[in-house]
C-alpha cells in the first residue's frame, strides 16, 4: 500500500469498490428469498432493493474514484499493534466461548492492547488488567446486577 503522487490506479480503492458490489449482490440475493404477503406493495423487499441498488451505484462510484486516484493519501502502516489488539480480542472471545468467564480474557486483552501502544511490561499490565476486571465485575455484576459470562474465577466472588 504505497501512496502515489501521480494519479495511478488505487488498488485498495478498487478492492473497496469490488466489496461494495459483492455486498450489493448479497443483499439482492437475500431479497429474492423474501415473500410478499400483501398484494399491493413490495413489503419487506422495498428497502433491500433500494439498499442493493445504492450499494451497486456506490461501488461504481468508488471504482471511478480509484481509477482517478481520488482517494486520500495514506500513511505507512504498522501491522504489529493491530495484530496484538485483534489477537487479544480473539483470545477473549475464545475463552468466553469455552466457558472460562471473562476475567482472564479481559486481563489478556488489557495487556496486549497496552503492548500494542508500546508498553513493555506485560506481566504488570496483566495484573492491572485483572484488577480492572475484578473492579468492573463487582461494579456491573454485583452492584448493577447485569449478567456477565462467569467462569471458575468469577464464581470465587
Amino acid at each position: 500500500m504505497t501512496t502515489n503522487p501521480q494519479r495511478r490506479i488505487d488498488v485498495a480503492g478498487l478492492a473497496i469498490a469490488l466489496l461494495l458490489l459483492v455486498l450489493a449482490g448479497v443483499v439482492w440475493w437475500d431479497m429474492t428469498k423474501l415473500q410478499i404477503l400483501s398484494p399491493y406493495d413490495l413489503g419487506p423487499k422495498v428497502m433491500p432493493i433500494i439498499v442493493s441498488i445504492g450499494l451497486a451505484v456506490l461501488g461504481l462510484g468508488n471504482a471511478i474514484s480509484a481509477f482517478r486516484g481520488d482517494l486520500p493519501e495514506r500513511d505507512s502502516l504498522d501491522w504489529k499493534p493491530i495484530i496484538l489488539i485483534l489477537g487479544g480480542l480473539a483470545i477473549l472471545i475464545a475463552l468466553i466461548s469455552l466457558g472460562w468467564g471473562f476475567m482472564i480474557g479481559t486481563a489478556i486483552l488489557f495487556a496486549t492492547t497496552s503492548a500494542a501502544f508500546g508498553r513493555r511490561a506485560f506481566v504488570v499490565d496483566l495484573l492491572i488488567g485483572a484488577g480492572l476486571a475484578v473492579f468492573i465485575y463487582l461494579l456491573l455484576g454485583k452492584l448493577l446486577t447485569l449478567s456477565l459470562p462467569a467462569g471458575p474465577l468469577e464464581n470465587l466472588f
Partner: protein
C-alpha cells in the same frame, strides 16, 4: 407563553435530587471523555447504554444530555492544550487556541471557550425551548410519506452534502442502511440478511456497532499510526482569567458563533463542523487585529467554541421534535430513548411532557454546572491527560468488550464488535465518515417502516411520495442537497478552510 409553563414544570423535574445527581455525573463524565483523546461523547453514551438499562429513563437521558454538553466543553480543553481536537467539532478551536497556549495565554483561551460555551449553550437551549413546540405542532400534521421524505433529507445532508467526498459519505450511509436490514422484519416476520445465525435475528445492536466503530476502530487506528504522530501537552501558564480587553474581544464572537451554530445544528444539516469553521472564517474577516490571526487570536477561539455548543443544542431540536438524529452523539441519544421504548417526536411531547421538558430544563442546569466546574477545575482535567496512552486505550477496550457482553452475553456479539472495529479502522484509514453508518443503522429501519406505511395506505402507488406537498418539497430539497456537492466541488472546503 406555553413554553414558559412547560419549562417551569420541566424545572420541577430537573431539580429533583436524583436528576440533579444524574446531570452532575453526566457533565463530569462528559468533560472527562471530552478531555481524553480517543473517546468522544458518542462512544461514552454507547458504553453507558447497556449499563443504564435498568435505571430510571428520565435520569439516564438527563445524564446522556449532560455527557453531550460536557463532551463539547472538554473537547476544547484538549484542542487548546495539545492541539489534538477530541472530535471534529473542536478542530477550529485548536487552530488559534493552541497558538494562544503556546504563547502563554492558555488560561484566557480556556476561559473564553468555557464562558462562550455557557453563553452559547444557554441562548441555544432557550432557542430549543421556544422552537420545539412550534415544530411539534408542524410535525403532528406529517403523514408517513412526509416523515420518509424528511429522513431522506437527513440521510443526504448527514452523509453527502458537506463531507469531503459525497461518494464516500453515501457509501458509509448505505453500509449503515444495509446493517439496519439485518434481522427479523417486524411487519412480515421474515428474517433478512441473517444467514441462519440466531444472534442476527434480533437486529444489530446499535451499541455494538457504535462501540466497535468508535472504540475498537479508533484504538486500532491510533496504534497503527503511533510511530508517526507525536502529541505535546502545553502547560497552562499565567493567569486563568480574561482581561477586560479579552472580554471586549470575545462577546461579539460568542453571539455570532451562536447565530451560526444553533440554526445549522437545528436544521437537519448535521454536525458542528460547518458552523465552527464558518464562525472561524467570519471572525478572521471581522477582527480588528488581523495580524494576530495565526499567532493566537482570542476571537478565533471564542467564536468557534460558541458555535460548537450552540450547534449541540440545535441538534436536539430535530432529535426531540422529529426523532431525527443528525450527529453520531444524537444518534446514540436516540438509541438511549429507544432502549426504554420511548420514541422522540410529537407524541413524546404529548405523552411524556415531564420527561421531555425535564430534559430541556436540565440542559440549563448542566450548562451552569459546566461553567462552575470547568474553569476552577481545569488543572484537574488537564491531569487526566497524564494517563499513559497504553493504559488509556487498554482500559477503553476493556470497557468496550465488557459493556458489549453485559448487553448481550454471547461470544457472537464480541465477534461482531471485532468486525465493526476492523470496519472502523478501515473507514478511518480510507477517510470514510463514521457518523453516517450509525445514523443509517438507527434511522434506516424507521425510514423503512414509514415508507411501507405510506405505500400500503396508497395501495402500493409510489406516487404518494410526490402527491403530498410537504413530502414533495422535502424530496426536492434532498435531491438538491445530493446533487449540489457534485456540481459545486467547493462545499467540502467548509471543513478545511485553514490548511
Amino acid at each position: 407563553m406555553e413554553a414558559f409553563f412547560s419549562l417551569a414544570s420541566g424545572l420541577s423535574v430537573a431539580i429533583q435530587p436524583m436528576n440533579l445527581l444524574f446531570a452532575l455525573i453526566g457533565v463530569l463524565l462528559g468533560t472527562a471523555v471530552g478531555v481524553l483523546p480517543g473517546i468522544g461523547p458518542a462512544l461514552t453514551v454507547a458504553l453507558l447504554l447497556p449499563i443504564t438499562f435498568k435505571l430510571d429513563p428520565a435520569g439516564s437521558i438527563i445524564m446522556f444530555a449532560g455527557i453531550y454538553y460536557g463532551g463539547m466543553y472538554g473537547g476544547s480543553t484538549t484542542a487548546i492544550l495539545i492541539n489534538t481536537p477530541g472530535e471534529s467539532a473542536s478542530m477550529a478551536t485548536a487552530l488559534e487556541g493552541n497558538l494562544m497556549a503556546k504563547a502563554g495565554r492558555g488560561g484566557p483561551a480556556l476561559a473564553t471557550a468555557a464562558i462562550g460555551s455557557f453563553v452559547a449553550g444557554t441562548i441555544a437551549t432557550l432557542g430549543l425551548t421556544f422552537l420545539a413546540p412550534y415544530l411539534v405542532d408542524i410535525a403532528v400534521s406529517f403523514g408517513p410519506e412526509d416523515y420518509f421524505a424528511l429522513m431522506c433529507v437527513a440521510f443526504v445532508t448527514v452523509s453527502a452534502t458537506f463531507g469531503d467526498s459525497p461518494v464516500r459519505g453515501l457509501t458509509s450511509l448505505f453500509i449503515g442502511l444495509m446493517l439496519g436490514l439485518v434481522g427479523i422484519d417486524i411487519l412480515s416476520g421474515q428474517s433478512r440478511l441473517s444467514f441462519g445465525v440466531p444472534e442476527l435475528y434480533d437486529n444489530i445492536e446499535v451499541t455494538t456497532l457504535a462501540v466497535g466503530l468508535f472504540a475498537v476502530g479508533e484504538a486500532l487506528y491510533v496504534a497503527s499510526r503511533r510511530h508517526i504522530v507525536e502529541e505535546k501537552l502545553e502547560p497552562v501558564r499565567g493567569s486563568l482569567w480574561m482581561t477586560k480587553e479579552d472580554w471586549k474581544r470575545s462577546w461579539k464572537p460568542w453571539l455570532r458563533g451562536t447565530l451560526y451554530g444553533f440554526p445549522i445544528g437545528a436544521l437537519p444539516a448535521g454536525g458542528a463542523e460547518i458552523p465552527t469553521f464558518l464562525s472561524y472564517s467570519t471572525e478572521k474577516r471581522l477582527t480588528k487585529y488581523p495580524d494576530q490571526f495565526g499567532k493566537g487570536a482570542i476571537e478565533g477561539v471564542a467564536g468557534p467554541e460558541a458555535a460548537n455548543n450552540a450547534s449541540a443544542a440545535g441538534t436536539l431540536v430535530p432529535l426531540l421534535t422529529l426523532g431525527l438524529p443528525t450527529s453520531a452523539t444524537a444518534a446514540m441519544m436516540l438509541a438511549g430513548f429507544q432502549q426504554y421504548g420511548l420514541n422522540p417526536g410529537p407524541l413524546l411531547f404529548a405523552e411524556r411532557p415531564d420527561l421531555v421538558w425535564g430534559l430541556i430544563a436540565s440542559l440549563f442546569i448542566a450548562n451552569a454546572m459546566l461553567l462552575v466546574l470547568n474553569l476552577p477545575l481545569v488543572g484537574l482535567w488537564v491531569r487526566l491527560l497524564a494517563i499513559p496512552q497504553p493504559w488509556l486505550y487498554a482500559g477503553i477496550l476493556v470497557f468496550a468488550t465488557i459493556g458489549t457482553i453485559a448487553a448481550n452475553p454471547s461470544p457472537v456479539e464480541l465477534i461482531m464488535l471485532a468486525v465493526f472495529g476492523v470496519l472502523g479502522f478501515l473507514m478511518r484509514r480510507f477517510d470514510f465518515p463514521i457518523a453516517p453508518v450509525v445514523v443509517g443503522l438507527i434511522l434506516g429501519p424507521v425510514a423503512e417502516s414509514q415508507l411501507r406505511r405510506a405505500l400500503s395506505i396508497s395501495l402500493g402507488d409510489p406516487m404518494v411520495l410526490l402527491q403530498s406537498p410537504i413530502s414533495a418539497t422535502l424530496l426536492a430539497i434532498a435531491l438538491i442537497a445530493l446533487i449540489l456537492p457534485f456540481v459545486m466541488k467547493g462545499l467540502g472546503r467548509f471543513k478545511a478552510v485553514e490548511d
